[in-house]
Symmetry: C2
Amino acid sequence: MSTQDGRAQAPKRATITDVARVAGVSRGAVSKVIRDAYGVSPAMRARVEEAIERLAYRPRTAARALRGSGFTIGLALPVFGNDFFSQIVLGVNETLAGTGYRFILAPDTSESSSSHTLDALADREVDGIIAVSPMVSTDWLENLARYVPVVVIGRHDMPAGYDTVNGDDAAGARLVMNHLLEQGHRRIVHLTGDYVQVAARPADPHSIRSVVFREMMLSAGLVPRQVTTAADPAAIVACVRDLLAGDEPPTAIFAAHDFLAIHALRVVATSEPRVAIAGYDGVDIASHPMISLTTVDQRGVEIGRTAATLLLERIKGRTTPARHVSTPELLIRRSTAPDGATG
Amino acid sequence: MSTQDGRAQAPKRATITDVARVAGVSRGAVSKVIRDAYGVSPAMRARVEEAIERLAYRPRTAARALRGSGFTIGLALPVFGNDFFSQIVLGVNETLAGTGYRFILAPDTSESSSSHTLDALADREVDGIIAVSPMVSTDWLENLARYVPVVVIGRHDMPAGYDTVNGDDAAGARLVMNHLLEQGHRRIVHLTGDYVQVAARPADPHSIRSVVFREMMLSAGLVPRQVTTAADPAAIVACVRDLLAGDEPPTAIFAAHDFLAIHALRVVATSEPRVAIAGYDGVDIASHPMISLTTVDQRGVEIGRTAATLLLERIKGRTTPARHVSTPELLIRRSTAPDGATG
DNA sequence: CTGAAAGCGCTTACAG
DNA sequence: CTGAAAGCGCTTACAG
């Protein structure tokens, strides 16, 4: 006996009504037991719990979220598979453990921009949203924050309605530049993503790194030179290859983030003369002895933990904005070691 | 005028009722316009769309899912931040583009096992679930599949109610072993995760790789030796260090997956004599010239694409089980090159 | 301590 | 082509 829709006769999961019937109580009573709410007699609780067990009942988050809270927070990521963002996710997960809150991840996809991703999360009635480097205006975020608690990672905004968590990008960039200058480098190039627009997005971490690079080169009496590349490995490799093949190739590259640095190393690994490279983020693979990339540890796990903590505060009712900045640390490795120390 | 709950006076997003009121039509009519359903006059559509625009209305997925479909599929991952799984996510994303379906990710967390993750997804009333290497019984999966369309990646099950997508692990393991044996290696050790239990989980990809390793060693007249390690980098490094420091250290290591192989390389990078290493998965970093790890490309993106395609079929009504196996390819790199070719 | 009723925001038949 | 009503599975006051 089949119908047109193959799922037509799919069995229904037990609902709160089924449990109420089996336990011989009202639906409201079952709800109270589930939520561990005040005012349930031990006897009733026992009966309800037995019925829940027997029916393998599980409350539907979708329905709960509609009325009360679904105990879920949404984590929006601009890309999937970036190791630094993975650190953030780890931190969020750590903080949420034991709180009863779960999280779901929603990466921006090829066809959905940051705004779509954030909207989609809000549409699912999550209790709060952590947005990592969202590419939307502050106005857009302020508006979103009117309806749902929001914490933003990776934007040095001065928001009224949401919280921010960032690394100290100016300090981190200074650490890198001081290191390279101390090594005696004069021809240093800043390698960054082609989406970085310092003028349009001054609060963007990559803009700040770029600005600091420029300032420090100038005050050292040097010429700041910056090249931009698309995000895919092939483009990065091509960009760095061109750079090294051009006139006056740099002796050092300050890459705006580790992904750029690691792919730049693909070129540098076989190039002569050697070019120093420093990255930014502190991803795990940078510490691998065969890579050994100098980088700035942004403490992604800590950033994730802090963001989750702030979001839980907001969910509980805080409305005053909080801004957290974590202190970066320079990890000096072989990629910027003086000539000859190459592994 | 503030209340105890800071969110008490948070503004409400416009609902379908608001739109109906503004447009002067019924809620059902608005619903039809939203869903692009049959039977709406152009005039009415125009009025409704104007109201939607004006109110910045967005249908709540949570409410839709309760009644019809939320056009969302859930992707359950056993861990977060694994590069091979990222390939799968990319493939799923590719296939979903343009279908109107979105996906949300739910990784197993420290406190939630695979079953909790899958339940949580089902509780959110997703239209279907793709489960990557879930650590639950087949009975459990069959039961889940009674209620929601399911596709499982990374288990060579013979299911009745769900689909499976896998690499050909036996073929892949043979590629690796043939390669190592051809290089003249006799003392080959298989390095695998300590959770792998061949007897208990014969359908697990890692079990299959382990079994094939054993068979091929035996038929080559060699002694199969396997060591297991916990999943964290420190444990892997300690394990490999012990292995190399022990009696009769191997001349080659067949790691059950790239993450193991790459961290094993941390030890091997500085060890004498040289030990060949092959991994399994085909993660991006393996191709980096400074890593250059021999591995089996599992074609993760293709696996993700196929899984999404099968799930969409199931959502549309297919009930007969499908099983897809993708053909792996051996990528020979420097990590298994003969002595002296070390980079 | 317990239950009946209303409502969250949507969709689905069913009348008109 | 359009609307009124019932219902998805839950929670929230409000009576008793």
